[in-house]
């Protein structure tokens, strides 16, 4: 049986004496009844503690949900800032299908100055054949009223169009007056983002009444057709379609106008 250092009194080595002194400074463990009862109560209490995979699943779900909320908040914030920066141009970043020869068939008249891209209903792709995807950035720039306009940026099949058929840059460069653009953009926003075809139709009618030969008349008519279809006003949609086909027989939204016209024909 070995003797404990803390019980020894006579040390020949001072280091051993110091070691014993240090060991004596540490008392043995004392546990109170209160602690014992408290731990027992906690151990025996029903706990919401399932198997490890359940806890991990709950944790992962919470993490996923919080990350999603954070991303959505950031995206919304970012999109809001983007809209604030360009108040007169709603987001037009979705590639829009266009007929193949859209630029070449454009009317040379000043009131129908070719727009690079405009909102077209998806049905417009039906007749388009190999649809060309047009970047809307040029259109956005034009609507912003940039002084220096650019040619439309054709992404997909611009190689199919002979260069001599493309309009001269100065034709495509005419920016609309801000007032006109604001009206059409408001209508566009009401139709596409707020899903309010009634308000969009009213705005477009205002535009067509005030600027019958405006730069954006073609777009306004096309949007008007779309708004009339959206509010299920077949008669007015047919009127606008016929009006469009009469003014722009080779316009960019002929497909939409023809389809609407044929669909509303009794």
């Amino acid at each position: 049986m070995k003797q404990r250092l803390i019980e020894m009194r006579d040390f020949s080595d001072p280091d051993e004496a110091e070691t014993a002194r240090l060991l004596r400074s540490m008392p043995p463990t004392a546990v109170s009844e209160v602690v014992e009862r408290r731990v027992y109560a906690r151990v025996c209490a029903p706990r919401l503690r399932g198997p490890r995979f359940v806890r991990l699943t709950v944790l992962a779900s919470a993490l996923l949900v919080s990350t999603t909320i954070l991303c959505a908040t950031l995206a919304r914030h970012w999109l809001g800032r983007s809209d604030d920066r360009s108040p007169r141009s709603p987001a037009l970043s979705v590639p829009v299908a266009q007929p193949k020869r859209l630029v070449a068939q454009r009317e040379p008249a000043p009131e129908s100055a070719p727009a690079d891209s405009t909102p077209v209903s998806p049905s417009a792709t039906d007749e388009g054949g190999a649809a060309a995807t047009v970047h809307t950035s040029a259109h956005r720039d034009r609507l912003r009223g940039f002084a220096a306009a650019r040619r439309p940026t054709l992404v997909a099949s611009d190689r199919d169009i002979p260069r001599e058929e493309l309009p001269p840059p100065e034709v495509a460069a005419a920016p609309p007056p801000p007032e006109e653009a604001a009206l059409v953009l408001s209508a566009l926003r009401a139709l596409r983002r707020e899903h309010n075809p009634v308000q969009a139709g009213a705005l477009l009618q205002t535009y067509l009444a005030r600027f019958p030969k405006g730069v954006l008349t073609e777009e306004a008519l096309a949007l008007g057709i779309e708004a009339a279809v959206a509010r299920q006003d077949a008669r007015f949609a047919a009127i606008l379609s016929n009006q469009y086909l009469g003014r722009y027989p080779a316009g960019r939204f002929v497909a939409l106008a023809r389809k609407t016209s044929s669909a509303t024909r009794p």
Binding site: K2, D15, L23
Partner: protein, 175 residues
């Protein structure tokens, strides 16, 4: 065998083991709770025999898990130095209390530098008052192994105390 009986028989010993395994005083209660949660869950699977050794093994594994997470926990909790100062009022004078706390702190630091087996053997024998046979039963080793571990543990501790004393003398001798 009822859990309640096991708990009331071994709770105090388990706390002493947990302390010997190197858990700070502030965390002992939580670790003890974790140990007995495992005991409660595993008790039906206990096949008889050395119950104290079985509990000691559970305590060892629980403390090992606790140590793995200790660094993360310490990021959000108070440091041990602050905890160690809590018991200052329990001794006769503040100076004595301070000296005692300082000694405890030094001892804990030295024990932390030892290997697990030596530290456990030393603390159980010297501080908690266990006999060699009891420690041998807990660790599942022969008694001679316990004495060997105790011998080496004492030797390590004395060497550390000697080094500390020399360091203090050197610092005291500097101008």
């Amino acid at each position: 065998m009822l859990f309640e009986d096991v708990y009331h028989t071994y709770f105090r010993q388990t706390v002493a083991w947990i302390r010997a395994l190197g858990v700070p005083d502030a965390e002992i209660e939580d670790v003890a709770q974790d140990v007995f949660l495992v005991v409660r869950r595993k008790l039906p699977q206990f096949q008889g025999g050395n119950l104290a050794g079985w509990l000691y093994r559970i305590a060892q594994l629980t403390v090992r898990n606790f140590r793995r997470l200790a660094w993360f926990k310490n990021l959000f909790s108070r440091s041990q130095d602050l905890d160690a100062a809590d018991g200052l009022a329990m001794t006769a004078t503040p100076a004595m209390a301070l000296e005692k706390k300082q000694d405890q702190r030094v001892l804990i630091q030295m024990l932390d530098r030892m290997t697990d087996k030596r530290r456990e053997t030393l603390v159980l024998f010297e501080i908690e008052g266990y006999s060699g046979n009891e420690i041998a039963a807990l660790h599942g080793v022969p008694v001679k192994t316990v004495w060997t571990r105790l011998h080496h543990a004492r030797k390590d501790l004395v060497a550390m105390v000697s080094a500390l004393r020399q360091q203090r003398e050197t610092e005291a001798g500097k101008p």
